[in-house]
Amino acid sequence: MFDRYVLVPNSLHNEIIDGQVVGFSVKVRAGYYRGFRLALLEDLQLTVDGLTFERKDLALEVGGKPARPLDDLETEYEQTWDFGAPATLHVRKPGGLEPGAHSVIAYERIRVSYFPLPAEYTLADVQVVA
């Protein structure tokens, strides 16, 4: 429903910890039309320049709480991802991304109570690392 807004524009950045580039992050929004409990987030995938990162290398930071691996969120039955609220997706990639433009594709799959199939949202975008 909100596929085209899944990636927050201009939000791709390398992440530096203790002087080391440990990876990068990008801000994402859920494509669904209401806030929902995180357990309903079945999958979140990120593809940069044709390479899809492994699920174990992703962590999602929602609502100002510390980032957590996606597998942990599968049993998060309380905390919500609010409607339209950007969350930060952290990706482990030593060395980070080269400066310049990158093709970025985000994919989300969310379980929906009243629909036979899960809802899927995809957005392909280009973002620039400064």
Binding site: R29, Y33, F36, E42, F83
Partner: protein
């Protein structure tokens, strides 16, 4: 015109695009609604009230401040039964009953008296919460939403619970998306932009609009080896339904709220796909006295190509409804 007591309102669902993009706040959505004479406000807490179901007293105090300031009536709260919360097992009924009680408390705190029960919520859940709702003056109305029809097995089960508790506690909330006479133009135009085969899309539209059976269309598109977008529009055509508005008449004692779904107001007089003239005259005939609560759902079909202006769509919708309701000031 026959005398009636039908009132106009808005579900803030209509402004989801603007709220999502943080172009309108909850308060601004209310202000916009009231400005077109939509004095009944229906809300989706999980959309625009972050923190639900544990909202603070401050939130409710602010809400009632807006009620006084803008002069609106809180009408309905839309609940969602989270049937699939667990990946590996079904949701126990008692958990859903407990959550519905939180919905009931929230609705009472808003000063509203209606809850939209999501289609496919087990009637047993409604049954087990109905006493709690009735004690608080809250009605539990199950939505009648495409593709579920008035005469389905599902409806029979819903009606058994409604008859047990009586229409003042448990009833129905038709979504006018069950009366889609013509396949919404915004839907098939989007399919074309997504690369659907024009010839087959025209066929899909003709089959739907002539009232023929659409169920074989997706398979046909697949057999012809057509693109995913083409199969998609064929499948979409199986999800819309065109019931006779008069089918509401036998359920009138159970209908206390209506989600006035619309996809595209072409001007101040017409919705492209839903026959509002027939619907409003049927409601007047049936003595309906609740709200027609606008539910704009066109944004998702046009946002790829056009700027979404939900407010202009809602304004036109209310101009049309005011005329159909014979309101004096209607142009």
């Amino acid at each position: 015109m026959t005398k009636h007591s039908i009132k106009r309102g808005v579900s803030l669902y209509s402004f989801q695009e603007e709220y999502f993009l943080r172009r309108l706040t909850l308060e601004q959505c209310i202000e916009k609604s009231v400005s077109v004479g939509a004095l009944g406000i229906e809300t989706i807490a999980e959309q625009m009230m972050p923190g639900f179901p544990r909202l603070s007293d401050d939130f409710y105090a602010k809400w009632h401040g807006w009620v006084d300031q803008y002069g609106f009536v809180p009408t309905a709260h839309d609940m969602f039964a989270e049937l699939k919360l667990y990946k590996d097992r079904p949701r126990p009924v008692d958990e859903m009953v407990n959550e519905l009680r939180l919905d009931i408390d929230h609705t009472a705190k808003l000063g509203a008296n209606i809850i939209r029960i999501l289609a496919l919520t087990p009637p047993e859940v409604v049954d087990k919460a109905a006493g709690y709702a009735g004690d608080r003056g809250i009605k539990l109305l199950t939505e009648i939403h495409a593709p579920h029809r008035f005469d389905s097995q599902w409806m029979e089960e819903v009606m058994m619970v409604a008859e047990k508790w009586g229409g003042e506690v448990v009833g129905l909330m038709p979504d006018l998306g069950v009366f889609v006479e013509r396949l919404p133009r915004v839907v098939w135009e989007r399919a074309l932009r997504d690369g659907a085969d024009p010839k087959f899309t025209a066929h899909v539209v003709n089959v739907y609009d002539s009232g023929e059976d659409t169920s074989g269309l997706p398979q046909k598109a697949q057999d012809l080896g057509l693109s995913p977008a083409t199969v998609g529009i064929a499948w979409a055509a199986t999800r819309y339904i065109n019931e006779d508005p008069r089918s509401m008449l036998e359920y009138m004692p159970y209908i206390h709220h209506i989600q006035a779904k619309f996809y595209e107001m072409v001007d101040d007089d017409h919705e492209y796909s839903i026959p509002y003239d027939k619907i409003v005259s049927t409601l007047i005939e049936g003595g309906y006295d609740g709200y027609l609560s606008s539910e704009y759902e066109g944004n998702r079909h046009i946002q790829d190509a056009y700027g979404v202006d939900s407010f202009e769509q809602v304004r036109r919708h209310h101009a049309m409804m005011a005329k159909l309701l014979g309101e004096k000031d209607a142009a």
